[in-house]
């Protein structure tokens, strides 16, 4: 009984006319399904890849790090800011830290906290004038250039400007090797920093 019904399902016996029509309808239904499936898939993909399709620079905007008077000349200080793009449920992850170096007067350098190697937070050591990374031992000089270790480049620098007595930086996204944050040429350690106003606008 069971085997005979299975045999009936085998596409060996049906009349050619019926077969061609049903086969055609079946193929048509598959085609319709594929088309509708693709159509439904578009919003799925768009939703999923939305953050990636956004142009990276659109996340950036100018924010203030505080009055110039907060930054003593010749010193490098840790400054926190709230990322311009956040949601209320980001909590403390929406806060970002950066290193502000006031070389002199109106000359600044603002470095991302993230090591250029793998993004770990670098720490400034004023006595040895080095940034050190806790993860794999990357080291950078005071001007952000690579000193030693695995980083392929110097520290990421924010674009900055001074407006109304405030130090402003262009921030918004996590700096990575793909964002190429402010690196015009390989940094040379002996170059005096003021000669490289690449991140100053």
């Amino acid at each position: 009984m069971n085997t005979s019904s299975e045999e009936n399902l085998q596409p060996t016996t049906p009349a050619p006319a019926a077969k061609s029509r049903r086969t055609f309808l079946f193929k048509l239904s598959l085609l319709v399904n594929a088309a509708v499936g693709a159509l439904v898939g578009v919003p799925f993909l768009g939703y999923l890849l939305g953050p990636a399709l956004e142009k990276g620079s659109r996340y950036n905007s100018w924010i203030s790090l505080g009055a110039l008077t907060q930054f003593p000349e010749g010193e490098t200080r840790l400054v926190d800011y709230r990322n311009p793009v956040t949601t209320p449920w980001d909590g403390e992850t929406g806060n970002v830290a950066c290193w502000v170096r006031r070389i002199s007067g109106r000359q600044f350098q603002v470095f991302a906290i993230n090591c250029a190697h793998l993004g770990c937070p670098v720490r400034w050591f004023a006595q040895s004038k080095l940034f050190l990374c806790p993860c794999h031992g990357g080291a950078y000089y005071a001007d952000g250039s690579r000193a030693s270790g695995p980083p392929p480049r110097g520290l990421f620098e924010y674009k900055h400007k001074i407006s109304g007595g405030q130090l402003m930086i262009s921030a918004g996204q996590m700096p990575t090797l793909a964002t190429e944050a402010c690196l015009k040429k390989p940094l040379i350690q002996l170059d005096p920093a003021p000669k490289r106003p690449s991140c100053q606008s």
Binding site: L48, L49, P51, A52, L53, E54, G56, Y59, L78, D80, N83, V85, T86, T87, P88, W89, D90, G91, E92, T93, G94, N95, V96, A97, I113, N114, H117, L118, G119, C120, P121, V122, R123, F125, Q127, S128, K129, L130, L132, P134, C135, H136, G137, A139, Y141, A142, A147, S148, G149, P150, P151, P152, G172, Q173, M174, T176, L177, A178, T179, Q189
Partner: protein, 492 residues
């Protein structure tokens, strides 16, 4: 009593007539296996499956309390640890269960490899097994992210940094991974969806296929040296073996699986009870930079490898090596689908396992104490040994102060304490002359930054004079071999 029993059988029959599942299940449980395969070596696969079940149950229980929101996740973990009855134990079981699962899956894989079980006709079973290993590791990584603490936050940073190295679409990939421009709420939600829905769904489906294929093709027979696998004859030989000395899996072999699974569950419970849950460490606040992020145990070896790659090689290595590694694992049964199964006749296979195990072991060990990382507080925390300061001139002692103050100790050790990034300085003057030390300090080189800008001449002089006193246990001072030649007064 017998009437009640009769009634029970009737209910069972009623259901079974409609469902029809009991028969195939019983048949699967009693499927014949080679008597030689009823071995303690064949218990790891089922143990991994039991652990997966444990992870699913504990995972669902944790999801009752856990809040997948970047602002609240860390607090909800603290709440689980401290305020929910037995919450700490559930977290501990889930965490230890994860570690055990990775270990058992790896042991299972090694056993299958050494017993040649991946050969014809079980190639696809092996390939799905490779996927299962990757999915297990994927669960471990996403799970580590859900423990939304400092390590999770900076672990995501490492993930994003690695992703950013992909050419052309690096930035887009990073934003797709993070769900936005920074690590935040969207990132955690993405990883929550991966850890709770996507990966477990694929994992359970793949486990189903994996087990189905084991049942369909039969469990691998105990390999015998000299009994070669040939595609033309293997299946006939296997069926002959089953016919001659096959035994039902249940109960003849299943008791070993059951006992081992019970032992593993007990071990997980014991570890969870005595060692407690993992973290969370500090809150995921990127403005707290006093942290030394570290991945979980299973990924320590990768963390270590990343410390040793030359900068120019790193991106190609990161993008190409995983493809080769996974490709090799997947293609193994296609390349070596026939031939000898027994490990005693496969020296290359045994050597490979040994090499991979030693490599993973060494890198993992290095990852536990990260000798490449500066010890950030060694300069204030680790004193100069008193013996190194006795009978020293004021200038030399001043040099010791410079050594501490300029953070040299963060990378260099004295008397066994301090960083391991650079060489220990206890006998530096026995290896380097004064000129060499001055050059090394001021210009750097090797793996050392130059300190020319961080030291004034007086500090440099003091530091070098102190370093020249460090000659271990009275080793002779280093000399420039050409010194007496250059200083020699020419004869006549």
């Amino acid at each position: 009593m017998s009437k009640l029993r009769q009634r029970g059988i009737e209910v069972y029959d009623w259901i079974e007539r409609r469902l029809g599942l009991a028969k195939p299940i019983v048949e699967a449980a009693e499927h014949p296996i080679p008597a030689s395969s009823a071995s303690w070596w064949y218990v790891f696969g089922s143990a991994a499956m039991v652990l997966l079940g444990l992870q699913v149950v504990t995972g669902i229980l944790l999801a009752l309390v856990y809040t997948p929101s970047a602002g609240e996740a860390w607090n909800s973990l603290q709440f689980l640890n401290n305020h929910i009855t037995l919450g700490w134990l559930l977290r501990a079981i889930h965490g230890w269960g994860s570690n055990f699962m990775i270990a058992i899956v790896l042991i299972h894989m090694v056993q299958v490899f050494l017993f040649g079980a991946y050969k014809f006709p079980r190639e696809l079973t092996w390939m799905i097994g490779v996927m299962l290993l990757l999915l297990t590791l994927g669960m471990a990584f996403t799970g580590q992210v859900l423990r939304f603490d400092q390590d999770a936050y900076w672990g995501l940073g490492i993930g994003a940094s690695v992703t950013s190295r992909v050419p052309l679409i690096g930035q887009q990939l990073v934003h797709a991974l993070l769900g936005g421009p920074i690590i935040g709420g969207a990132t955690l939600s993405r990883f929550f969806a991966l850890h709770v829905f996507v990966i477990p769904g694929i994992l359970l489906l793949s486990v189903g296929l994996h087990v189905l294929m084991v049942l369909r093709l039969g469990i691998n027979e105990w390999p015998m040296p000299g009994r070669l696998v040939r595609k033309a004859t293997y299946e006939r030989e296997y069926h002959e073996l089953i016919r001659k000395d096959g035994i039902p899996f249940t109960p003849d072999a299943a008791w070993k699986d059951a006992l081992f699974a019970a032992a593993i569950m007990l071990a997980v419970l014991a570890c969870a009870f005595f060692f407690g849950p993992f973290g969370p460490t500090g809150p995921p606040d990127p403005t707290i930079i006093q942290t030394s992020p570290k991945p979980d145990f299973a990924f320590l070896w990768i963390y270590a490898v990343l410390a040793f790659l030359p900068p120019d090689l790193e991106t190609p290595f990161l993008l190409i090596a995983p493809v080769i590694l996974i490709g090799a694992l997947l293609l193994l049964p296609i390349v070596a689908g026939e031939g000898e199964k027994h490990w005693s006749r496969r020296p290359v296979a045994v050597l490979m396992v040994a090499c991979i195990a030693v490599t993973l072991g060494v890198f993992t060990r290095l990852g536990t104490y990260t000798p490449w990382s500066p010890i950030m507080n060694a300069w204030t925390g680790d004193p100069v040994p008193v013996a190194y300061l006795r009978k020293r001139t004021p200038l030399e002692r001043r040099g010791a102060v410079v050594l501490q103050n300029k953070q040299c100790r963060d990378c260099h050790s004295l008397g066994g304490s301090g960083g391991l990034r650079g060489p220990a300085l206890d006998s530096i003057a026995a290896r380097m002359t004064e000129d060499q030390i001055i050059r090394q300090v001021l210009q750097g080189g090797g793996n050392m930054p130059s300190y020319g800008n961080a030291l004034n001449p007086a500090e440099t002089t003091a530091l070098v004079h102190f370093l020249l006193t460090l000659r271990g246990k009275d080793l002779p001072p280093a000399v420039d071999a050409s010194q007496h030649l250059t200083n020699r007064v020419p004869r006549d």
